[in-house]
């Protein structure tokens, strides 16, 4: 059986083929106009047998549709009097000190937002039943407007979906996709539920078209789609709830990092994915970190996603001096085109230029030497910037790196310390092109005891897709005080969610035996309005207090508790590539040593050993100062770090 993980990126589409215990990697240029072309062409290049192949694809279609605002003509139906909730949002502005600030334009304009007379209360009681006759009138208007997709979000539908279901029934004759809020996100807070449902409706027809196109061409196997929660689902299901596929590529990267680190014995990790324009970080505390508070392109999307924090510092981030004389790096980026100064097409110095100037990037090995780097250009530009800062060029280059590191360090603090985690108890897993140049400095700054750099760090997202499970998340707002119910009674409330999950898992062809069921609750003290996610078992109350103490610095067992949402996560285990363990044969790393480079470190130019990573073997140990190069990435190992190659081929870096 062949399994293929495919990640569509901005520049490359990455493939990992897994057959008979062997892994093959491939990178081909992306085809942005129709990303499916690269996917299909890559699949066709596989020379082995495609028998019973399973393809797991991380598609950027939903994300790009949303970012570029190229979704379907969508209508929204709400309770009458609340048609503008989507536009008003939380009535705030995104920037405090900007007299010209704008609001994100709603995905559905005013004239396509319709109200229906109906009302449900927070208790679930129906105050006013939906008038079915009024729906007929609306159907006519919707047809006149030629809408392609519909979202429904009625007040308190999470407590009683009756009116939403009646409305759905009335819209059947339209024969266009309808996204219903109590199905997409049965949770309280009307704006967020509405926004999430609207995004689903907005991207629905486009994602459906894309996946169907692939389905008709991948006939001899199964197509699955990666989700942002770290698991994948069948193509059929992804078409119904495309919202779950938004940002799935980065999520797969975290899955890959987590699984690889776990196999090596580290299950508390902070991932660092430094790319050209930005850096993504995520924290996994013995499991993937999940959030339900995401916002994409100014729009709240509240389905569970891997919690990824992004900051505008990447290899291409541009350095400049601001009005007050401070050295800034990013968030503007030179991207791949024009790229850094050393690509010879631009004159804005970037983080990459600073690394080159200091000797940490070795021109002959950058992207396997495919890309010529002109150091002279960079030198000139550094002279110019340094003279306006009145410091040496070397200090300027160092400074650019320090400032970029500070931004990334801030991002790591957000996912760790702000959430009550101590980075000293974590391993930093660095992947993406540029991470290896900065990982040691970040580990040093935050007292992180260890850095892990996986094999093929540039293809981790595609790899993560092969390491993922089938995952489905279900939730339901209940808003109950737990002093009113016994644990068994609360447990019984999970039943409908579990039944729905079992049913859908069987349609994913997951056997009951390989199913894993996780029950969780969103909990708070009565009166609070933020919740903490707690696994639901006998000890859940104690665990809640413990977590409250960790995150907020106090807890109070005497206060009454409230369960806001029930959550069920179903995980269907599938056969995955087992990570291959090598053996240490006691070889010396000398065969990987190809020379020496002079590198500036702490203001001094000192010789660094230059190694080819691919020639290193499990069990090898190197000591800094050293530079390790591979095709898509370079590792900078300062003098006060050692590097061990573990049995899986990962590099483990530790400070003295």
């Amino acid at each position: 059986m062949l399994r293929v993980g495919i990640d569509t990126g901005g520049t490359f589409t990455d493939f990992i083929f897994y057959q008979d215990g062997e892994i093959h990697i491939m990178k081909i240029p992306s085809t942005p106009k129709n990303p499916a072309e690269a996917v299909l062409s890559g699949l066709n290049q596989w020379k082995g047998s495609p028998d019973g192949r399973q393809v797991i694809h991380g598609s950027t279609i939903a994300t790009n549709t949303l970012l570029e605002r190229k979704g379907a003509k969508t209508a929204l139906i709400t309770t009458m009097g609340f048609e503008d909730v989507l536009e008003i949002g939380r009535q705030t502005r995104s920037q405090l000190y900007n007299l010209f600030v704008r609001k994100t334009r709603p995905l559905v304009p005013g004239k396509l937002r319709f109200g229906v007379e109906e009302r449900t209360l927070h208790t679930g009681e129906t105050l006013k039943k939906l008038d079915v006759a009024s729906v007929q009138d609306m159907v006519r208007k919707l047809k006149e407007e030629d809408v392609e997709s519909i979202a429904i979000c009625l007040l308190f539908s999470y407590a009683n979906p009756h009116n939403e279901l009646a409305l759905l029934q009335g819209l059947k004759e339209m024969e266009i996709p309808v996204s219903v809020s109590h199905r997409i996100l049965p949770e309280y807070r009307e704006y967020e539920r509405c926004s999430t449902t609207v995004v689903n409706a907005y991207v629905y027809p486009i994602v459906e078209r894309y996946i169907s196109y692939l389905e008709t061409r991948i006939t001899d196997g199964r197509l699955s789609i990666m989700q942002s929660n770290g698991g994948y689902i069948s193509a059929k299901r992804a078409k119904e709830e495309p919202i779950r596929t938004v940002l799935s590529g980065p999520a797969a990267g975290v899955v890959g990092a987590f699984e690889i680190a776990k196999a090596s014995g580290y299950s508390n990790i902070i991932t660092l994915d430094m790319g050209g324009t930005s850096t993504d970080v995520s924290l996994c505390n013995a499991g993937l970190g999940i959030t339900t508070e995401s916002e994409i392109s100014g729009v709240p999307v509240k389905v569970p996603m891997i919690n990824i924090h992004t900051v505008g510092a990447g290899g291409g981030s541009i350095a400049h001096i601001d009005e007050g004389g401070s050295l800034r790096v990013g968030p503007q980026s030179a991207g791949a085109d024009p790229g850094p100064v050393c690509y010879c097409r631009a004159d804005n110095l970037t983080v990459t230029d600073a690394n080159l100037y200091l000797g940490r990037l070795v021109p002959g090995y950058f992207l396997g030497g495919d890309r010529a780097l002109c150091l002279d250009n960079a030198k000139k530009a550094f002279k110019k910037l340094a003279s306006s800062l009145c410091i040496s060029t070397q200090k300027t280059a160092d400074g650019i790196i320090d400032v970029a590191n500070a931004t990334m360090e801030g991002a790591i603090r957000v996912v760790s310390m702000e959430k009550g985690y101590d980075p000293r108890e974590f391993t930093l897993v660095s992947f993406g092109g540029a991470g290896g140049l900065h990982a040691c400095a970040l580990a040093r700054g935050l007292s992180i005891p260890r850095v892990l750099i996986p094999k093929n760090p540039g293809l981790l997202s595609a790899y993560g897709m092969l390491l993922a499970d089938v995952v489905k998340d279900y939730s339901q707002s209940v808003l109950i005080r737990i002093d009113e119910l016994k644990t068994e009674e609360i447990d019984a409330l999970f039943k409908p969610l579990i039944e729905r999950g079992m049913d859908e898992m069987s349609r994913e062809k997951i056997s009951v035996g390989s199913l894993l069921l996780e029950k969780c609750v969103d909990m708070r003290y009565v009166g609070q309005s933020y919740e903490i996610l707690v696994p639901f078992n006998e000890a859940y109350v104690a665990r809640f207090n413990e977590l409250h103490e960790t995150v907020y610095g106090y807890s109070d067992e005497k206060r009454p508790y409230e369960i806001v949402n029930l959550r069920v996560r179903m995980v269907g285990g599938v056969s995955k590539p087992s990570l291959k363990k090598g053996r240490s044969k006691g070889e010396s790393p000398a065969s990987a040593l190809v020379g020496q480079e002079r590198v500036v470190y702490r203001g001094e130019s000192i010789p660094f050993d230059l190694y080819l990573r691919e020639r290193l073997c499990p069990g090898n140990r190197l000591e800094g100062p050293a530079i390790l190069v591979e095709y898509s990435s370079t590792l900078f190992l300062p003098p006060d770090f050692t590097c061990d190659v573990d049995l899986y081929g990962n590099l483990i870096l530790s400070p003295y």
Binding site: D84, Q91, R93, L96, G399, G527, R559
Partner: protein, 530 residues
Amino acid sequence: MFDPIKLEIFKNIFSSLAEEMGVALCRASYSPNIKERRDYSCAIFDTCGDMVAQAAHLPVHMGSMPYSVKSAIKNATMDKGDVVILNDPFEGGTHLPDITMVSPVYVQDGPAFYVANRAHHADIGGMSPGSLPLSRDIFQEGVRIPPLRLVKKGVIQRDLLKVILANVRTPIEREGDLTAQLAANRLGERRFIEVALRYGYHEVVDYMRELQDYAERMTVKAIQEIPDGGYSFEDYLDNDGLGDTPIKMCVNIRINGERAEIDFTGSSPQTEGCMNATFPITQSAVYYVFRCLSPPDTPSNAGCMRPLKVVAPVGSVVNSRFPAAVAGGNVEVSQRIVDILLGALSGAIPHLIPAASSGTMNNVTIGGLDSETNTIFTYYETIAGGSGATPEENGVDGVHCHMTNTMNTPIEALEYANPLRILRYEIRKGSGGSGRYRGGCGIRRDIQLLTDAEVTVISERRKFSPYGLRGGLPGKVGENIVISRGGARRLGSKFAISAKRGDIISIRTPGGGGVGCPDTEKQEQKQDQG
């Protein structure tokens, strides 16, 4: 000479420290006011109590927090582990519901820095639920807390806490919020010590000063963009909540090179009602305007204020004296201060100044006994309006402007927690002033009471509309309507009534002003064709 790299790094460190405190406070607090609406701020201060960084939460807290911290330093000796609490508007506070906590950060045996946070509590006692009453003096507005140590050497002073809680309507919620405030300061203190250990005390102190100098340079840049000269403007507040006399507000801004003097001489004397600002509020509003004109990433700290001189006559509506009632000062007077400042500057830098925004926070407080659960409830919210059109495009509909940026309470959260039902929440079409660029529209929010309750509304721009610029029409004034069995009545800008179960309070907020003559565009098009 400072190091431009360290400057940037410390900028990150200090702002993330304040931000982290904010996250802790928001998450751990109890009242929807703080959690859902984010009506709070966190900041860090140097040894003198001058601000170094503030998490960007609420502009109205910006200029006023330092006064609270300085007052705490002056009035209470702070040992290690102490926390000073205060809300006295005449000791650096704003209005009584805003409670500030100040903690010293001890490095090398002395208080080297301070961390502080301020949160708007849903009730602090006084004559009406929610503590934003139509009052005549400060004593009617609730418990006044001078700078006192709520925590001594790490031990909470239960006696003081009991006194405070005994005088508020919702003591359990208050205690939860106060605990959250303490937790936020504790976190800030801990982080601060880590920073001092990592970079060294002296370097931290040096870069606090450097960052203030940096912010000053950024503000100077903004002032230099304004041509030298004097610019004046005046506008009115509807009334003080007791009588119906308009309150005059005027300003004369004098720009001289790198410095600006903002002179409020000529503004009305302090009022008999609650529409009075204390000096820190006026300072905040001035700061806000110049901060908007400064480069986008200017850090919020004491340096920003250095090039600005504020002249506010003592005993006037912009610098009221004890025992003035001040409930409406930071929510309403502050908005009008911004309006007149922007109005004056529109004469100097018209391309950078929008027309008037809704100019009111539309404060609605509803409180009473929930007859079903037999518990006391207090509900407070502000309702957004329309923003003024800019010289480049239409204003924004339904958004909070200038001195506030608090979120609404989700309807599904509000109805779950209070005996209230929302019947309508929509954009008030046609309320934005016409113009070449139209002002943003206000909001209509209809709230039905499910129990008898006291309703207090403090709003503005029900009489004097938000101005347009360069021929743009003003935004529509707001309307407050109460619909009961006897029919609908239109009430004034400010009212306090005992309403009955079933009554509907319909608040329709003002739109923003327009910019440019409504038909200029058409004329231009005609000319093009001709």
